[in-house]
Amino acid sequence: MNTHLTEEQISRYIAGYATAELDRHIVGCAQCSAKLGSLENIIGQFRGSAGDWAGRECRLPDMATLSGVFRRSRTLSLRWVAAAATLAAIAAAFPAFRKPVEPPVAVLEQSRSDEQLLERVNAHLSQSAPASLQPLMEMLPLRSDLKNEGEIR
C-alpha cells in the first residue's frame, strides 16, 4: 500500500476491521500510525473521563433499602396481576348484565302469523272426517253418549 490510509480506513481499523495488510501499513507508515495513535488517545481520554465521572457520582446502594425496593416492586407486580385479573373478570361478566335485544316489530308480526297458520293446519288435520262429511258427523251421537246408553241396558 503506497498511499496513506483514508479516514474511512482508519475508522474501519478502529472498529475491528483490521487486516494483515492494514497492520503492515500502520507499522511502516509514521503518518498513519500517528493519526491512529491520536484517535486512540482521544478515545482513551474519553474512557478515563467516563470512568472518573461514574466513580465520582456512583454511590453504592444501602442493601437493606434496596431489598425493600426489590420486595416492593415484586408486590407491585403482584398487584398488577390482581388488577388485570379483576378487569378480565369484569369484562367477562359484562355481557351477562346487558339487556336482551328485542327483535324488530316486523319479525314479531311474521312469527305471529306463522303461528296462526300452523294452528289452522293443526285443526284441519285433527278433524276425524273430511269437510264434506262434517254435517253427517254432527248428526251422529257422541261416543260417550252411546257408552252411557249401554250401561243403562
Binding site: R12, G16, P61, F70, S77
Partner: protein
C-alpha cells in the same frame, strides 16, 4: 476485562444454585458501579442514571431464579442494562417536550485538571472530549451502545454481540459508523 476472583466465585455460585437469591447482594455490590458507568455514559444524567441502574438490578433480581448461567453474570447484567437504556430513550422520544440531557463540559473537564497536563494540552484535550461527548448525544442508540461497550467498558466484539443480541458483523458496522461520526465531529472543531 480481567475476571477477578469474586466474579469467578459468582459465576460458580450461579452455575451450582440457580435459586441462589441471597447471593444477589454480592452481585449488586460487585457490578453496581460498572452498570452505573455504562448507564451514565449513555444517558449523561446522574439522577436518571441512578434510577435506571436501580431498575436494571430490580429486573435482574426478579429474573435471578430464571438465570441459567448460559453467559456470565456480567454479560447478563449488561444485556439488561442495554435494554433498560433502550427503553428509556424510546420513552423519551415520545416525550418530545423534554430536551435531551446535555453533558456539562466543566463537569467532565474538572476531572482532567487533576492530571499532569500543561494548560495548553489540557485545553485541547477538554475540547476534544467535549466533542466526543457531543457526538454521543447525536449518535443513534445502537451505535452509541456499541461505542460505549467497546471503548468505555472495553468489551470484546463477541461479548458486545451477546449483550446487544446482534451478530458480530452488525457490531462492527455500528462501531464503524460511531467512530466515523466521532471523527467527523472532531475534525469539524
Amino acid at each position: 476485562m480481567q475476571p477477578n476472583a469474586t466474579s469467578e466465585l459468582l459465576v460458580t455460585n450461579i452455575d451450582n444454585a440457580p435459586a441462589a437469591v441471597p447471593n444477589f447482594d454480592e452481585v449488586v455490590q460487585h457490578y453496581w458501579q460498572r452498570v452505573f458507568r455504562f448507564v451514565l455514559a449513555s444517558v449523561r444524567n446522574v439522577n436518571e442514571a441512578e434510577c435506571l441502574t436501580q431498575d436494571c438490578f430490580c429486573k435482574a433480581y426478579k429474573a435471578w431464579t430464571r438465570f441459567r448461567g448460559d453467559s456470565s453474570v456480567e454479560t447478563w447484567l449488561m444485556h439488561i442494562a442495554v435494554n433498560v437504556v433502550r427503553d428509556f430513550f424510546r420513552n423519551r422520544r415520545l416525550q418530545f417536550w423534554r430536551s435531551a440531557p446535555v453533558v456539562d463540559a466543566s463537569e467532565v473537564g474538572c476531572i482532567l485538571t487533576d492530571r499532569k497536563l500543561s494548560p495548553e494540552t489540557n485545553a485541547v484535550v477538554q475540547e476534544q472530549l467535549r466533542n466526543v461527548w457531543a457526538a454521543m448525544e447525536i449518535l443513534p442508540t445502537k451505535q452509541r451502545t456499541a461505542f460505549l461497550l467497546r471503548f468505555v467498558d472495553e468489551m470484546e466484539l463477541s461479548e458486545i454481540a451477546q449483550v446487544m443480541g446482534i451478530t458480530e458483523g452488525s457490531v462492527k458496522v455500528h462501531l464503524f459508523r460511531a467512530v466515523h461520526a466521532v471523527r467527523k465531529r472532531l475534525g469539524r472543531s
